[in-house]
Amino acid sequence: MSATTLLPLQQDSIVVRFGRWLRRDIRGALSLAFLLLLIVVALLAPWIAPYSPTEQDYANMLAEPSARHWLGTDDLGRDVFSRLIHGTASSLYAAFLAVGVAVLVGVPVGLVAGFMGGWVDLAISRCIDTLLSFPAIVLAVAVTGAMGIGLTTAMLAVGLVFSPQLARLVRARTLVVRQELYVDAARCFGASLPRLLLKHVLPNAIQPVLVQATLLLAVALLAEASLSFLGLGVQPPDVSWGMMIARGYMYMEIAPAQMYVPGLAILLTAIAFNTLGESLRVALDPTLRGR
């Protein structure tokens, strides 16, 4: 029998498989929906928000939530709800930038260190240890001091400080995976080093990185908040959630919503990132799929 006639082997389309996944994994679907909503909100902020983030209502400063100002106003009479919406973009941008840098730097470094071993590993590992002893915020402060204040430079620095965490994780997994028999088998077929790393080692070593990266997204959100709080991140008149907390905490006894609202936004986003990470881990691992 010829092999070709036996081949209706159709894979379900990606849309069908995605739909199946959504139905099976409610928590993952909810997280994804929430994060998509945030992205839409960030993109459409000027059209969604009832007020401009800088518009001041002198008659209602530090106001309680009301029909006019859903989440109240801050000490300058600016609408908290509008500022929250406008702050979404910078907060998400900051988190993705930092984690993107961490992944792009950390993963290849860890992969090479773990796979090559020997003095390459030794040299890289010492650098990782050194960097790990640096508090992220302190380095970000130093970098902004040297390169100028601004969200992008600050978050690039945060990303660099995060990268050793991922590098160490990838290195540890790579040390295990490179011993696997399927790597030897591929080597026996004459596979090149890039092929071994990209097709055999990386896909089997990346899983914990995915989970860790979603955790780091949450940490990066907080780092943005801290840096903006210190005045090194987002600069007025731009808004971010961290900046709102920084200002709001001074009036927490008079107008607690000012601090709790952006805090809650950060918390929910962080949870959504983590939940999605866990869902991705399960969804991407064929051994955890139905038999």
């Binding site: 036996l6 082997l9 028999l181 030897d184 077929f189 896909p203 089997n204």
Partner: protein, 353 residues
């Protein structure tokens, strides 16, 4: 191939497919000791034969098998493939040569990337060789799967969805896509259920007939080796103890260790119907390859050990044509299994210390 033909080939020294010359593979342990996994092994594998390698765990047989396909670099000595040494070859030629020399591992599951489908795994060797088009590679992979006894409905599955026997067939199919001349089979049935071992062994035999493949069949199971091998080498602590045509080795072993292995093989008969062969029991475990015994490595467990064995390593000698042994006392009539009483106790006393 008959024993006589093999013996004739050996004596006529037909161009071997693989020749191993005084191969040594040493590993450094963490505390700076040296494990001599393979310590001075020489033999040649002839085209078309099945070359059995038997040994207990720790004998270095797996390391030897991995070295045969270039996965472990030799510390000293060399392996030549059709007369060529891998280390002296240019890259292109090396890749070309590599495809002729393949290995199938003991653990069929661990040998497959869990994130690749069966079809992806089986196609991979051809992809690496950049042979054909994606469509032709797919066809070749499906044909190989079919030849190994697997239908195309398994092609899109992942390894964890298959049984052990099916996975070993996938490994076989994957290697077959390259049409190798030589395959190292490292304990290929040890991890499988007894019920499917026979089927897999038969598949190996069929493929040999069909494609003229040469095998190095590594196993600890002397019954497997004696069924399928033309010649057999017995390994102990990194060295060869005996090498010869399978019929000669199993009917008239020259080394006490081989005799002991043979007598340990269970006979499927009630005790009163078994042949008269006395059982030779080996005391203790295989010594650590970190500190192998002086002289003959087998002496600490040998029923015929004498003082000379501790002082002098036995020479590797061809006692009858094509039948080699490393024992001071072996004669063409067979292994020496007894020593006088005093000597036996000396050997035992030494072993206890």
């Amino acid at each position: 191939m008959s024993v006589q033909q093999i013996a004739a080939q050996v004596t006529a020294s037909a161009a071997p497919l693989v020749s191993v010359e005084d191969l040594r593979i040493h590993f450094a342990t963490r505390d700076r000791q040296t494990v001599k996994a393979v310590d001075g092994v020489s033999f040649a594998i002839l085209p078309g034969e099945t070359f059995g390698i038997i040994g207990e765990s720790g004998s270095g047989k797996t390391t030897l098998g991995r070295a045969l396909v270039g996965l472990v670099p030799p510390t000293a000595g060399r392996i030549r493939y059709g007369g060529e040494d891998l280390r002296s070859l240019p890259r292109r030629r090396l890749r070309q040569l590599r495809r002729d020399y393949q290995i199938i591992f003991q653990d069929p599951h661990a040998a497959l990337n869990p994130r690749m489908t069966i079809l992806q795994s089986v196609q991979e060797p051809l992809e690496i060789m950049r042979e054909g088009t994606p469509a032709s590679r797919r066809r070749a992979a499906l044909e190989a799967l079919e030849r190994a006894g697997l239908g195309p409905q398994l092609a899109e599955r992942y390894p964890h969805q298959l049984s052990g026997g099916q996975k070993q067939r996938v490994n076989i199919a994957r290697v077959l896509t390259l049409r190798p001349k030589f395959i190292v089979c490292d304990e290929v049935v040890a991890a499988l259920d007894v019920s499917i071992r026979g089927a897999i062994l038969n598949l190996f035999a069929e493929l040999q007939q069909e494609f003229g493949i040469t095998y190095a069949f590594i196993t600890h199971d002397i019954s497997v080796v004696s069924h399928i091998s033309d010649r057999v080498a017995v390994m102990y602590l990194g060295q060869l103890m005996e090498l010869g045509p399978t019929a000669a080795v199993t009917s008239r072993p020259l080394h006490p260790y081989t005799a002991a292995l043979l007598s340990a093989e269970p006979q499927p008969l009630p005790s009163d119907m078994r042949t008269e062969k006395r059982r030779i029991q080996l005391a203790g475990e295989i010594p650590s390859p970190l500190a192998p015994p002086s002289g003959c490595r087998f002496r600490t467990r040998c029923p015929a050990a004498r003082p000379q064995c501790a002082e002098q390593a036995p020479a590797w000698r061809e006692l009858t044509p094509g039948h080699w042994v490393a024992c001071h006392f072996a004669t063409p009539a067979g292994a020496v299994l007894e020593t006088d009483h005093a000597m036996t106790t000396t050997a035992n006393a030494e072993e206890r210390t």
